[in-house]
Subunit: 298 residues, 2 copies
């Protein structure tokens, strides 16, 4: 599903700096024997392999979703002018609209009309959000149930709205928990979820630009090439932050026909490894993403 042309395009976009050698991961990986398990570079997710161990067990369910409402913080700002291919678009006053078609009374029903821009709330970024890859309805259900690994950077993200998940964090995590499982969701717990209803969630800078923790592109590349991670997860509203120029993580990840979930919640309530994530992504034809109910089976 990920054409060589797309991969080539993405490779050109991403500045490659022999990342792994440069930060000594190869050595660490060799020492732990993980290179033998690594997959070849830029290999798209292999849908013939199984996402799950032979049998998965769980005893409880954790909701990893926020509730979506018209004031949920969004990437865009009401009234903002956005231009693509020469076409101007103004962002509407509400990214999410909830209108009553019927209202319940003892003899009637309650029914609403919902309108949203896809990328709001706890939501999927499908590959097609940043590439010519798969839309939400093209991701099979079995790919929506994955081992979950959670990396916690709360300690340094607390006071740094531009904190990023780095290879050092990954190394530290793997030295404690073992290799990130094959075909997992790797979720970044920056501690940002609890700020969702406060200005800190956007942490606007002096130019009105958002600041929030995200992934270092080196990490995204490593997770894709060396751990065959299927999905990224983050508890802020973007995998990228201002330190990644031009949505580098998005283009890299989705350009390789992979997907992710933004605005996750409750990551403190799941273990670093051992849970299974279920992404309840409504299958809307041609969707580039959209609000999702994400749950962890623990």
């Amino acid at each position: 599903m990920c054409s060589p042309a797309i991969i080539e395009k993405v490779k050109k976009r991403i500045t490659r700096r022999n990342l792994l050698q440069g930060i000594g991961v190869s050595g660490a990986a060799s020492a732990s024997g993980c290179l033998a398990q690594s997959v070849s570079s830029s290999q798209p997710p292999d849908s013939s392999s199984t996402n799950l161990p032979e049998s998965v067990s769980f005893t409880r369910v954790v909701d990893l979703s926020h509730t979506l409402h018209p004031n949920f913080p969004a990437w865009f700002v009401a009234g903002q002018q956005v231009t693509t291919r020469g076409k101007r678009t103004f962002v509407p006053p509400e990214i999410v609209e909830v209108k009553s078609v019927f209202e319940w009374n003892p003899d009637k029903v309650n029914l609403k009309q919902i309108t949203y821009w896809e990328h709001v709330g706890t939501h999927m970024d499908a590959p097609s959000h940043f590439s010519e890859g798969s839309t939400v309805d093209e991701i099979p259900a079995e790919d929506l149930v994955l081992p979950l690994a959670v990396v916690d950077i709360k300690a340094h993200a607390h006071s740094d709205p531009l904190a990023r998940l780095t290879m050092k964090d990954i190394q530290k995590w793997e030295s404690k928990h073992g290799l990130i499982p094959e075909r997992a969701m790797l979720a970044l717990n920056s501690g940002w979820a609890k700020y969702v209803d406060t200005p800190k969630y956007k942490s606007l800078d002096e130019n009105g630009k958002h600041r929030q923790p995200g992934f270092h592109p080196e990490v995204a590349q490593f997770l894709m090439e060396e751990r065959n991670v299927v999905a990224l997860g983050v508890d802020t509203f973007s995998f990228d932050n201002q330190l990644s120029k031009n949505s580098e993580v998005h283009y890299l990840w989705m350009g390789d026909n992979r997907w992710g979930i933004e605005n996750l919640n409750n990551l403190d309530d799941v273990p670093a490894v051992g849970a299974t994530v279920v992404v309840g992504q409504p299958s809307i034809q041609g969707g580039s993403g959209g609000p999702s109910r994400v749950m962890a089976l623990v």
Copy 2:
């Protein structure tokens, strides 16, 4: 969550005919020892009890959802005039609209604006659709993961678009598979899912009214009162059909603060009992239902 007032209202609406005695279920239930396990009448789902056995295991995932698109068969018809509380509403040409805000090109992103009337596609009917009960965001995630029981009436529904799941079907199922699990989803497999893109899905009668298999109200009442079933499921677009007057099943079920899923798919691919259903219902504040990704863990 279900006030006595609501329960009373529903009881008045539903014609009670000592259903269970009338069709001899009490005897059957006593014989199988199930009365000892029955719950008291009209008891709302008890959220303090566990939905799941101590540990749930699975090895595969089955998608129970259809893909939603603008031509998905809907209850309403474009241009139809509907009136509630004296307010006229005209059904728009499309119940589901997908508009591109941005379209992907090598430097841009793909982002759509989605609009839908909540009750379309594979979707939840929350209690608030037909009562003053819970909205979708008020249903906790742990209640969205339930044991799944599937009752197959394909043999007689095939040639009868007004077939209903009856107490006889339930008795036959329980004599073969044992009692319906406590706090389960009970899904009706009428075989209708495969007709979703054909006129048979609506099977319009000479007056232009829909015909599709559904639940007999007696069954809904039994499942609620004697089996504490949490959610109904059906592979047609309504729990009710023309033989149930005035949306009897909807008012009964949702009036007791219970919910369900309509337009299920692939019920042939899951066992009659033993699977676990996960309802990926986006948590939209105040929603009376909406498109959902429903999966079975088998």
